[in-house]
Chain length 285, copies 6
């Protein structure tokens, strides 16, 4: 579609205050879901990241990779074991996770950013001992599933200061060299908090937090973190949304200005989020 | 007009390669004509400059101010004297020029940029002895009309490096403290050349160079500087266009990548010029 | 007069401790009165400023320009209106003030400093939004007379750090772009306080504070700021001296080491003030 | 074994001139073979690298990973295809190579260096577009086997300047995002040349270049690069040694001071090489 | 003696944790006694200092010179005068002390360090007014014996930051230019405290603090500074050891991590102290 | 004597162009003769150096010390031996020279500069291996008399950049640690040339170069270096003046702007030389 010069300039001029607002600020994006599978969405995300980084925003990309891990486990004939419905990560699984995340997905994203004329550097929680990690403490033993207890942001800062977009896989190692698989949402939240990010964006495959989860017209656009417990009690926040929203709440509590559950199924949803007032998805502040 | 998110993102994404291209490059804009008189155009230019500066372009604004000088001369009851049709600048006129350019227009532009959330610093050729100036050499004695023989870019660089848009009035002083009025087009061209600018933009009140000057559909979009003499001989470049285009040619010869005669009557023509391939107006390269 | 080498060296050697004392310190000089009118005094001031700046003192020049404003108002046939004996500044007057101060006097001073081999940069309160300004609050509405509510010293520091003497006109703009005329004494005092200056020098056309205002032999050389209220009650400080001395008191209260009312009618009084113990004029500390 | 203080000090003092010689110099180590398999050798190499880096040597580690690639290919049931005896790398193989090298081995080495109190950052040729790569040109089509045509050393320098040991996997991507497997010896040689390294060390499973390849007592300790063609003609350099030694020759030709074929089967052979005159293995200069 | 590669590497690898521990830390060494007289010991100390400095330790050498002062006094036929058994330092003696320490010994040590490929700069307490000094206050008037009341570490830091080993003679001057002889142990302790040194090493001609001063097998390797008063009461610390140990205690109290009484009669005792856990001599912490 | 404010300001203002001219330039002063013996002259020189350094001149002081060396040799009862009328420097003499120059005179000058509120650092040719030195080659063997073959200006620059006046004794050491006595005039000339000094000043006890050496009214104020051979042939330059003037010629040939033979018997002759056009003494250019 040919867009008239009037429209072009109107859009660019409207973007101006947002560019000013985010100038030199850190935005951490947890990348996952459909936006990582569909080729068009993928390219849209990459071009968004390069654009943000060009207008002076310090973009940090944190990615997961569930589907590709599952596929690779299948290829090596590794049987899955579940504990209370959660995947148990034995040492062999952890190794596959590491290879798929830090070896394949991470470097492919770096390469894709370069194809969009960006400059990126692929890191994981092991590099520069970025993640201090310990075995996940929960009701059930999940094997090599880890929790990040501290983030050394030095390797991320080194990349940002030298003009690279850091692309981060959420695997880490403890002092004995054991490899741990780490939930990407919580890792992204901790990175955002440690970097004093302006914005944490969790890309998902839903429209946002819905008052009625079967009706996309009931999107709740803004939530104060203090309202969350009440929303949980009312059952509006439930199931898989609980841990995601806890990441948002936690990061906001630790100083991130806003955390957003964003619909990754819409092309360029990141741009719309950053460059407009209404935003899309649900914003926690 | 409400613009859809699809259009918005399309425009922003299309702007990406141009932002990449101009990142950290110097663009010198000679501001004048209607774009300096009409309030809407004026605001459009200011918001364009702030936007360019936010996406990492080093913008330098050089301005004239003919109409306001004429008006002020009237107010002080100063009679004008012409030599071969050109205004003779006696000492009193030079003083009025200095006050109007460096005192009124310059500072008002700085103030206007701040109203658009920009950061600007108003300078003239006298500050930091930026312009080395001598009496204009021509057929007729025009009084205190000066030529810039060298540009010390240090004051401009100081402003740029500290995040200010330099706004420059084209008055200068010689070693004895005589004040000279300097043509803004030629001063802008010399500043662009001395700064090794990527781009020199001369804002005018015409569509560009026309093959038939009475038909705006005959715009010549691109001209190699080597073609200029032939275009002069053919009479396509004539009258007041000759000195303007000589500025373009001279700046390109001294290393500026491209020089553009831009239609300042169109709102946001600077944005369109920078953020699209076709550009508007006539480009010399 | 030929001065013997013995005298020369004696003077230079006596200057030594003062050079040491002021090394790398900020001295703010409010320039006005006769010293701005008489050509010899003017040149003496400029050469003093260049000398101070060469021996490592960070000189900031703040200037007024009452007589030239009055003259220009006359030239444009602008009638003056007075409120309680104070000049009312309508928009047209503010514009003339801006032109005369920021356009004419400021740049002429910069040029004159260059003629004395100095390096200067002419700024006003609008540049880099140096002055945050609001309408003056007083008994009577004086129109566009403004008060400085905060000083952003960044543009001044940028000039100083790059070796330029900042020459500052005391006009400012509010967020809507209205231009305000600001009293140069109070602006200088605020600049001195914001820069943590060592010294504020107010050049005047009087010998200093006199115990008997008709007898120059009754000069009071030193005044503690705590003595000022009593001196006002005694009528020793009275009339136009009150606001000037309040500037001194205010700046000293905010950390300036000493503020001096200096006789600008004496050539090189700045040098004498800086390079001798007794100083001349009245010093508030 | 308890070593006496006399011996300790003697060793340290003897190391002194070598520490002086290599201070702030770059040493590129191609790590492979037995030294990457045997746990004790592995730990010895890591502790050597940390020691070198502590005494001011800028260590760059380039690694291969043949055996682990072979093993992983087996696990996914990928059949190998050979062309003229060389492994053909189809897209699926390239993906496995990338995962094993950049995901598993690379990050495990980084983790191991941290266990030895070092600081490391794992990168591959894709990061920061470090390798410019094109399809290998040879007699036979080997699929996604690539040649490095240029090295952008910026990501390596960034790591070194911030105190990280760069650990580099030799996979790269072209502008279309195709992944290529790159021979680690040649990549290390090119990195060494691009970094103007003092030293290139190729760790192998042989004693060095032997005059009689069946007799380890016939080690040739020093070879001038100009002697290599004659040694090839004589059959002393033959088989798999030819490409390795060509890497040495090429890097020396491009400015590396010396290139060494080192016996990786001896623990701490790197230390011995760096900290003694005779060195071990064969040195090309 | 030829040392096997196995031993060599073992020693170097064992040194690793100590290099890590002392990296970029300051170690102040008071040099004196036999280690300054015996040529072999002297060379051993110099090579130790160069080695420490190469592995990133910031070495500061403080030296005395009693025997050479005594010898020089003899040469000029200067009779010694004693007060309560302590040498009285008249002006002439102070001058000899200054010449011998700052002129001869200091520069000879600098030269010797250069012969060991080090980089050194010889300073004394007078340079850059490093020592603020006053007449020693004690029971008896000792003439020009001084106490350091403050250390300006700037000259030392300047040397260290530019890669020079500062070699410091302990003579100082007061504001009137009187020269004072200062005890090297106490000066070293004050320098160490002012530099927040990791380590203060006092080289002596004894094995360390002995429980039975006639039996070298009764060495006390570690002493907490809080134990010192009790050790004095028991007579274990007595005589000349008291002031030395008070230097240790004082420096530890002011933040030095450990202070060591080291046996300078053993070659390379500094290396052994730094590069092993047990150390040698007595350590106060 | 009380000097009027008029005179004071006149002197300071006249100094202005000289301060501008020498700003940030290096001036090397060879200090010797009467100016080093007479207390008043000594204090005058020190205050001059501090003044020059405060007005931004980079002062380097190089000193000799013949009379004090002679006196010290006497005190130790060292007999002098002469070769062709020149003093033979055996090892013992060299040691005395080193002590007197680097230990006594050097540090006393540093202390004296501090008493004049300056900041100084005392160095000699041994520090930082500043002088590369070899045995003097001449007709007769003079023992440990050395020639400077190269100057490493790093230690001098380190002092200057950190605000210290470097005070330099002209003793040096060769690679074997032999100490050499070096002529201070030639060393100063070489330092000036290596530092690209603006000015080399040799302080002497004569008025300058006289056309008739018995008539002080025949001073030759300016000499082009090309005129020197002719002046030697005419016998106007003769005896001890020849080596001094050769130092001037050599330094000017190597880029020093001017070299001056200055009368050190006049108080503050350095100030007069720097701050006036005529200068005093004889200037070579």
């Amino acid at each position: 579609m040919e867009i008239s010069n009037e429209i072009k300039t109107q859009v660019l001029v409207q973007a101006l205050p947002y560019i000013q607002k985010y100038y030199n600020k850190v935005v951490v994006i947890k990348y996952g879901g459909n936006a990582m599978i569909n080729e068009d969405l993928k390219n849209a995300v990459m071009s968004d990241l390069v654009l943000l980084s060009l207008v002076g925003i310090k973009v940090v990309l944190v990615h997961g990779g569930g589907p590709e891990i599952t596929e690779m486990l299948k290829r090596v004939g590794k049987e899955s074991k579940f504990v209370n419905g959660l995947r148990y990560t034995d040492e062999e699984t952890a190794e596959i996770v590491q290879m798929v995340l830090a070896g394949k997905i991470n470097k492919n994203l770096v390469s894709l950013l370069h194809q969009h004329q960006g400059k990126a550097m692929g890191l994981c929680g092991i590099d520069g001992a970025m993640f201090q990690v310990e075995k996940h403490k929960g009701d059930a033993d999940l094997g090599f599933v880890g929790d990040v207890t501290a983030v050394d942001t030095a390797p991320i800062q080194v990349a940002l200061q030298n003009g690279y977009i850091p692309v981060i896989s959420t695997v880490g190692a403890d002092d004995q060299g054991n490899i741990y698989n780490i939930n990407a949402d919580t890792a992204a939240a901790q990175i955002a908090a440690s970097l004093h990010a302006e914005n944490l964006i969790l890309m998902t495959d839903i429209k946002g937090l819905l008052r009625d989860k079967d009706d996309e017209n009931t999107l709740i656009p803004f939530v104060q973190v203090s309202e969350v417990p009440s929303l949980i009690r009312q059952g509006i926040i439930s199931g898989g949304m609980i841990p995601k929203i806890e990441c948002c709440v936690e990061s906001v509590r630790r100083g991130v200005k806003k955390a957003v559950i964003l619909d990754g199924r819409i092309a360029h949803s990141i741009l719309i989020e950053i460059f407009s007032d209404e935003g899309i998805g649900t914003m926690f502040y």
